[in-house]
């Protein structure tokens, strides 16, 4: 999979990210490390991205999908675990603080919470002139002060604001100060980490406008990290959809908004309020919680929540019944089925707690449709699973479930598939793996 076909121009991209990984070690002490008890949080797990001169790429995803970590790993503020980041052809992945310094001038960062990104004990002048001091720009403090005032005006503040302290501004103004600081070094790339999510809705558009204005006047490339698709549609040229540390779909904004290829993208887009009634689609509600990045699901990471998950070849019913049964299976695997609670509830209602009653009750509670609507042989299998579980025979239950419920989505990882100018990774897009053909 190469995305060279996606380049908007023929030149070398400004920023190239290849197979970038950032895992955080959660082991706390020496014993953990020796015994291997520590686990690692796979915040970013093999991300490929390119950012071209003058474009805006948005990385979108739910909170906890690793998108902020991605931004910081790209800037070498988190040392990447694996993979490379190249800036204009130079590998900057493992540079030390000193070696990184010249690149710091080219790559800047804007933060989500503008107030906490500004040192409360420094005036705006001190905050904005610090980067210039560090990089030896400007001959004297007075020189830099002049430049600070210029920058303040450019971001829509006043010269006299230079002597104020951060807490004396509104949130939008604080974000403008943060933007002025990022611009002080005249960077080529700005990573904006949720630049407006902490701001009032009325101010958000102003800040986004400011960013696009500055982008065109400075010829900046912007990497915007956001959870908000309306931010994407307002400023981005391309969008990368991130789920659990991976990019699942990437491409031009219009194409992805109009014809999303990945079920996750479709779900995200269905939640965006549309003004035009014709554009409105039924909202796809994602069930289940986001799985932990410590132990991400096998195969396609989205399979535990995917509404379009592909039925196993052994499944006699249709997709919607499979989806229900598959969800039940996943809860079984993640030990989320609480037999004891079911039993207790029956007891409280004064009903019998023999295996069959508990099994029926468990299946009733776990399936949204009446269990009788499932094909007969499936019903039998489900009861069998439930009985194994009630008899404290989890292994057996899982084995039985595996026979009919192992979706290809769970078994193998989908590759990126190119479609037009965009790419997505979903088995639905691949010819070899279809519901009718059994996976190897």
């Amino acid at each position: 999979m190469s995305d060279s076909s996606l380049q908007s121009d023929d030149g070398e991209p400004l920023l190239t990210v290849r197979n970038l990984k950032k895992h955080f070690d959660t082991s706390t002490g020496l014993t953990d490390r020796l015994l291997g008890g520590g686990q690692s949080v796979k915040a970013v797990d093999g991300v490929d991205l390119t950012l071209h001169e003058g474009e805006t790429l948005a990385v979108v995803g739910e909170s906890g999908c690793g998108k902020s970590t991605l931004g910081r790993a790209i800037l070498n503020l988190h040392q990447p675990t694996d993979g490379t980041v190249r800036y204009g052809g130079e590998d900057i992945t493992h540079l030390s603080g000193k070696e990184m310094k010249p690149y710091r001038q080219k790559l800047q960062l804007i933060f989500q919470d503008p107030l906490s990104s500004l040192n409360p004990r420094q005036t705006v002048n001190e905050i904005i002139s610090a980067p210039m001091e560090v990089h030896g720009i400007g001959d004297s403090a007075a020189d830099r002060r002049e430049r600070v005032e210029e920058l303040l005006v450019q971001v829509g503040l006043k010269e006299s604001h230079a002597d104020r302290y951060p807490h004396q501004f509104s949130g939008g103004q604080q974000q403008r100060v943060g933007i002025a600081r990022a611009l002080a070094l005249e960077p080529r790339v700005i990573v904006a980490d949720e630049p407006v999510s902490a701001l009032d809705v009325s101010v958000q558009a102003q800040i986004l406008n400011l960013l696009s204005e500055l982008q065109s006047s400075y010829g900046l490339s912007l990497l915007t990290i956001t959870h908000d698709l309306s931010v994407v549609s307002q400023i981005a040229d391309r969008v990368a959809v991130m789920y659990l540390g991976e990019i699942v779909e990437i491409g031009p904004v219009e194409q992805i908004f109009e014809r999303p290829q990945h079920p996750y993208t479709r779900a995200l887009l269905s939640a965006v309020p549309r003004i035009d009634a014709a554009d409105r689609t039924d909202r796809i509600l994602l069930k289940g919680s986001v799985p932990s990045p410590i132990n991400p699901p096998s195969g396609c990471r989205f399979h535990t929540r995917c509404p379009e998950v592909i039925p196993s070849s052994a499944w006699p019913g249709n997709q919607s019944t499979f989806r229900e049964a598959f969800r039940f299976y996943n809860r079984l695997l993640h030990e989320e089925l609480e037999i004891d609670l079911v039993r207790e509830r029956l007891e409280n209602e004064g009903r019998s707690t023999d295996t069959d009653t508990v099994a029926t009750q468990l299946l009733d509670e776990s399936f949204q449709m009446p269990i009788e609507e499932l094909p007969d042989d499936v019903q039998t299998v489900m009861y069998e699973i439930a009985r194994h579980l009630i008899e404290d025979n989890r292994e057996q239950a899982i084995e039985t479930a595996q026979g009919v419920l192992d979706s290809p989505c769970k078994q193998s990882k989908p590759e990126m598939q190119v479609s037009g100018a965009s790419q997505a990774s979903c088995h639905l897009l691949t010819a070899e793996v279809t519901p009718t053909i059994s996976p190897e």
């Binding site: 001038q105 989500q112 829509g156």
Partner: protein, 312 residues
């Protein structure tokens, strides 16, 4: 690019009624005005400092001048050039107690200030490095601090003096100063641990700032409030430590006028001449209480939580 296109936030237009920025100095002054107890503490501290600085002018007589021994307070001695008045009497060598307390303020305050300054500098450096770098640097430095923390201040100081083998002001300063390093190191480390996660520190790294500059210019100023409080609360402890060392005969040379030594010498005569030890004792008590009152005021002014400083 013109700025008219990016409308200034609504709030920017009401610029002229912004919340006032309170510097540390303004906050301190505000608290002193409100809190009479800390104001009193500040005044007492200031007067003692002035007295210490101008001791030769304030003291009625030379502290090395001998008069009749153990004259009670409020008496006079006949001398060659007239009379000498002993407000607080004379001691077992015949020195004027009032004058010796005044000169003693010099030594006691100087020793306390320099001691705390020494501990402050060293402890802050250790705490900054440990908290900022973490990892093995942290383990190593904090292992040392824990080791030191396990010893009571006085025993450690006495040990240091015993090892160095001589008495004297410098030795007392080093001994007590070393014994206080752990307090500052712990305080600064815990402050740094929370401050280094702040986004403005990430921002500083993102602009390529050196670690040293980040520590000194971005992190330390935000820890300064609790450090000032800690200093104010450590000074009285240093005064007591110096007095205790002198009292044990481990402090400065026996002829130097310090409050601790005076207390010690007067102790033997407590039944015949109470004023020998009571007055130096009062001096110690008043200064210690004044620093504590002032320190409490500072703690409120800077909004430093109790327990955040001084885990002694």
């Amino acid at each position: 690019m013109s700025t008219s296109q990016s409308p200034i936030d609504a709030k920017a237009d009401e610029i002229d009624d912004v919340e006032e920025h309170l510097t540390l100095r303004k906050r301190l002054w505000g608290t002193l005005k409100r809190d009479k107890k800390s104001m009193l503490g500040a005044i007492v501290i200031l007067s003692f400092l002035l007295v210490a600085i101008f001791a030769p002018y304030v003291a009625p007589v030379d502290p090395e001048q001998e008069y009749g021994i153990m004259e009670p307070p409020n008496t006079h001695s006949e001398t060659a050039d007239g009379e000498a008045y002993h407000l607080l009497g004379t001691d077992s060598y015949g020195y004027d107690i009032f004058s010796r307390i005044i000169f003693g303020a010099r030594i006691s305050l100087l020793v306390a200030l320099v001691t705390v300054l020494f501990a402050f500098t060293t402890g802050t450096a250790i705490g900054l490095a440990a908290g900022y770098y973490g990892g093995w640097i942290d383990s190593l430095l904090m292992r040392y601090v824990d080791f030191q923390w396990a010893f009571p201040t006085l025993i450690l100081a006495a040990g240091i003096i015993a090892v160095s083998g001589s008495l004297g002001v410098i030795n007392v300063i080093i001994a007590v100063g070393v014994a206080f390093i752990d307090d500052f190191a712990r305080l600064v480390r815990s402050e740094v641990l929370s401050l280094r996660e702040k986004e403005y520190v990430v921002a500083a790294r993102a602009i390529g700032m050196s670690d040293r500059r980040i520590m000194i210019k971005e992190i330390l100023p935000n820890a300064v409030a609790s450090l000032i409080v800690q200093v104010t609360l450590m000074i009285p402890i240093a005064i007591l430590a110096e007095a205790s060392l002198s009292f044990l005969g481990l402090g400065v040379r026996p002829t130097t006028p310090t409050w601790g030594l005076m207390l010690n010498e007067g102790r033997q005569f407590i039944t015949q001449a109470w004023w020998l030890s009571i007055f130096p004792g009062f001096a110690i008590m008043i200064v210690v209480l004044a620093f504590n009152a002032f320190g409490d005021g500072l703690r409120d002014a800077f909004d430093v939580k109790e327990g955040e400083v001084l885990d002694r």
